[in-house]
């Protein structure tokens, strides 16, 4: 796979499309002004170097910059523009060390763009990695956690410029952030997972920023559906699970919200054409969690399930999916770390309250 070495203003479009793809469940929220913000910063501050962890000096201080909370809230109540610098400065004060590079908590949706903006404003390189390889609902559901890297010290700022810092174990930090979100306006821009480049070599999902750009370029150059399916297949190993018409969108079963999951379960049914057409049922809660084809579980979180709008040739988020839509259902395999026992325990189906083994999990 080709590596991206720097990000310029010309990459803003691809960044946005790629970011939407890896945030498949919420794709379609209007992130265009974040693209404008990214383009403006890159024009003003110049290109941002994209550096693999192993190519940084081993003791380089790194930290993730990203938003926790509701993406809709971020869109409706956007940042003023200087929050990334503020959060980074607060974290530097907390650590008493200068940051040498910025990384992504998860290179998806807004959180693929904000670290680049922060890196540009701070005149730092961005590490070509992230902690999820997609979007997951909890800030603790990262490869960093799997590798044992601490989530805190963490600093955060809200839409109304509240300043917070947290020092706690990852699960406690998760709960504290959720509590703060309730009064902070729905989102917090966080500086978290302070670590060194050496630890990122084994604790991060490498190549995530390059992957976002490559996928974005595939989608930007899309001429037709086949072109997209082929491109995604070669760039990220995407598999076509099936496609047809959405015949059902609604609440899923009697299951209430899991205590640690900030949303209610939803089900989407896609039926293939013809009397023998397969029934593809997608179970969702924040994320598209699993796909069941004719009763057979074919894939599950942390693998990425995407709905591709056949007409608009765009990735379609859950909230924009309606009965009657024509979609393709794709699966992108998660990073290898997620298929380890520790990875599945943290982000597998059972972490979402689904009493089922991941298809790649061996039968005991």
């Amino acid at each position: 796979m080709s590596r991206v070495t720097q990000l310029t203003a010309a990459d803003a479009d691809a960044m946005l499309l790629g970011a939407e793809f890896f945030g498949a469940s919420i794709a379609g929220h209007h992130l265009e002004h974040f693209r404008s913000w990214l383009r403006e910063v890159l024009l003003r501050r110049g290109p941002v170097p994209v550096v693999p962890p192993a190519e940084l000096p081993a003791e380089t201080q790194c930290a993730a910059i990203g938003v926790a909370g509701s993406m809709i809230a971020v869109v409706e109540l956007p940042p003023s523009g200087d929050e990334p610098q503020g959060v980074a400065a607060a974290l530097e004060n907390q650590l008493d060390r200068k940051l040498g590079a910025v990384m992504a908590m998860n290179a998806a949706t807004i959180n693929a763009l904000l670290p680049v903006i922060a890196a540009a404003e701070l005149d730092l390189p961005i590490v070509d990695c992230d902690g999820m390889g997609r979007i997951l609902p909890l800030i603790s559901q990262t490869s960093y956690t799997v590798a044992g890297l601490p989530l805190t010290p963490m600093t955060a700022t809200s839409a109304v410029r509240d300043q917070m810092s947290v020092v706690a174990e990852a699960q406690r930090a998760e709960l504290l952030v959720r509590a703060m979100l309730n009064t902070a306006g729905g989102w917090l821009l966080c500086g978290l997972y302070p670590t060194t480049a050496r630890q990122l070599v084994t604790g991060a999902i490498e190549g995530s920023i390059s992957r976002v750009v490559r996928v974005g370029r595939v989608l930007a150059a899309a001429r037709d559906r086949d072109h997209i399916l082929r491109g995604l297949g070669s760039e990220v190993g995407a598999t076509w699970l099936g496609g047809g018409q959405v015949v059902e969108v609604g609440p899923s079963g009697k299951r209430g919200a899991e205590p640690n999951q900030p949303a209610n379960p939803t089900t989407v049914v896609v039926r293939e054409r013809g009397s023998s057409g397969r029934v593809i049922r997608i179970e969702a809660q924040n994320e598209l969690l699993l796909a069941v084809v004719d009763g057979v579980l074919v894939t599950a979180v942390p693998d990425l399930i995407c709905l591709l709008d056949r007409n608009g040739l765009r990735i379609q988020g859950l909230e924009r999916t309606n009965v009657g839509d024509e979609v393709d259902v794709l699966m992108v395999p998660a990073a290898p770390v997620w298929h380890t026992p520790a990875g599945l325990a943290l982000a597998g189906p059972q972490a979402f309250g689904l009493p089922v083994r991941h298809p790649k999990e061996p039968v005991e």
Partner: protein, 504 residues
């Protein structure tokens, strides 16, 4: 745990009709014929992998996190050849799940209450199938009392008794009611004889079973229960036929009487006749062509005795077309405006070949009526033609217009003539080859005394005919005598068509 279904197992259908699944909502109404020897309450999807074939898989509420879990359970149950899946109700179970159930041919039931309780009830029913079967018998007995036809009574068994198809089969193998497949299917069957209202063997009920074992005794009990209402229904049907035929005969007498008096419009829409026509549901035929059926031989039961059977057989072939009993047989008619006598003859021939009449029949067809509604003449012709058809093969239909001079013979009391001939030609008839001698005598007389023509007709050598004539003369009979030739010719004709059985 047994891996093969018990012969005594209840079916899904039985559990739906008389068991715990009666209150469950089926997503599909198919594939209910599967036996259910086992029940499993599963709280994890992996539990299904350990279920035996033909298990009723009941999903515990803790398993049903979403419709996806139900569909996954459905798929796993299909892989284990389960008999059905029972799930607690939850939002989202609907058309898509039903479609999957249909594709996998797997009955799925949604229970409104606790599925664990349903599993217990199912296990109890499966362990004690006799209680369910007792309910089946009671239900059938109750419904038999509400049905008045053989079709209705057989229908009760076919719809209420799971895994069973039953037919009512006549002595000759014809299916009178129920499902033909039951009579023709091989495999496990239960048969129960049914006597008619007169106490004589009439038919049998044949039940084809999906499974045997104790089900056989249950089915046998139900069939025995069905016997009495079946006999009552048959008696009722026969009474109705007798009543209807009597009314039809009276109405036809009125119509023909009116025509004989020269009154207009015998089958037309006016006056008393019109009322009779309307009452019987006849379609007034303009320019009618009469037909007449009669027994193929004079011997045998009289017309009133066999009328119910003949009319029943007629209705099965000709539907509502009227058939009215007369002294010598049964009368009917077609419309001469829509077909010719020849076409009526052909239809009648085809119909007679298919009719399951209690006696062998022949028929006659008259000419087209002279004026609208004029039936009398055509009916007389048809009756004569039917008499002429006697002596021919069973089911033969004679056209009056083709009867010619045989019309005279048709009017003769041939049975009486034959009896006289038996006395007059007693010596000849005592011969061991009397049939051959009578045929030879008739052939020679039919040929005007030509022994050559008679030999050709009999397909023997002329010398053989000459030898037989010598023997006939030896009995004191002279075919050449001008005085006795007419009487001798009639006697030979009567004996050859109505004579005694050949000597043995």
């Amino acid at each position: 745990m047994s891996r093969t279904p018990s012969l005594d197992a209840l079916t899904v259908d039985a559990l739906v009709r008389y068991g715990p699944l009666a209150t469950a909502t089926p997503l599909i109404e198919e594939h209910f014929d599967r036996p259910v020897p086992h029940v499993a309450l599963v709280s994890e999807l992996d539990d299904i992998r350990g279920c035996a074939a033909h298990t009723a898989v009941v999903l515990h509420p803790v398993l049903t996190h979403g419709v996806w879990a139900v569909e996954s359970a459905l798929r796993l149950s299909w892989e284990r050849a389960a008999s059905c899946v029972v799930t607690p109700g939850l939002p989202g179970i609907g058309e898509s799940t039903a479609q999957l159930a249909k594709r996998l041919r797997m009955p799925v039931f949604v229970v409104p209450d606790d599925s664990a309780r349903c599993a217990l009830d199912l296990a109890a029913a499966v362990a004690n199938p006799e209680s369910v079967r007792a309910k089946v018998i009671a239900q059938c007995a109750m419904l038999f009392g509400e049905r008045s036809t053989a079709r209705g009574i057989l229908g009760v068994i076919n719809t209420e008794v799971p895994g069973v198809e039953v037919a009512l089969v006549a002595e000759d193998g014809a299916v009178l009611a129920g499902r033909t497949a039951a009579a023709t299917a091989g495999g496990d069957q239960v048969r129960v004889e049914v006597a008619g209202p007169d106490g004589k063997p009439w038919a049998r009920m044949v039940a084809s079973l999906v499974q045997g074992g104790h089900v056989r005794e249950t089915v046998r009990s139900i069939l025995r229960l069905a016997r009495a209402p079946l006999v009552a229904s048959v008696a009722r049907e026969r009474l109705e036929v007798v009543h209807r035929s009597a009314r039809a005969g009276a109405a036809l007498d009125v119509l023909l009487g009116a025509e004989a008096r020269g009154e207009q419009s015998l089958l037309g829409p006016s006056g008393l006749e019109a009322e009779a026509v309307t009452e019987l549901g006849w379609q007034p035929a303009d320019l009618p062509i009469a037909v007449f059926l009669r027994a193929a031989t004079e011997a045998g039961p009289d017309v009133p005795t066999v009328t119910p059977g003949v009319m029943s057989a007629w209705q099965q072939v000709f539907g509502d077309r009227p058939l009215v009993p007369r002294a010598a047989g049964w009368a009917s008619w077609w419309s001469g405006t829509s077909c010719s006598p020849e076409e009526v003859r052909d239809r009648l021939r085809r119909g007679l070949s298919r009719m399951r009449s209690p006696i062998a029949l022949v028929g006659g067809v008259g000419t087209v009526g002279e004026q609208p509604g004029s039936l009398r003449t055509s009916l007389v012709q048809a009756e004569l033609a039917s008499a002429g058809a006697r002596g021919q093969s069973v089911g033969h239909v004679e056209l009056f217009t083709e009867l010619g001079e045989r019309l005279v013979l048709a009017c003769l009391p041939l049975a009486e003539l034959a009896r006289s001939a038996e006395v007059a030609l007693a010596e000849l008839l005592a011969a061991s080859d009397r049939e051959t001698l009578v045929e030879t005598l008739r052939a020679v007389l039919d040929s005007g005394g030509s022994t050559g023509q008679a030999a050709t007709r009999l397909r023997v050598h002329r010398n053989t005919v000459l030898g037989r004539l010598e023997r006939i003369r030896g009995y004191g009979i002279d075919p050449d005598s001008a005085d006795g030739r007419l009487a001798l010719h009639l006697a030979a004709y009567a004996l050859s068509t109505h004579g005694p059985a050949p000597a043995r």
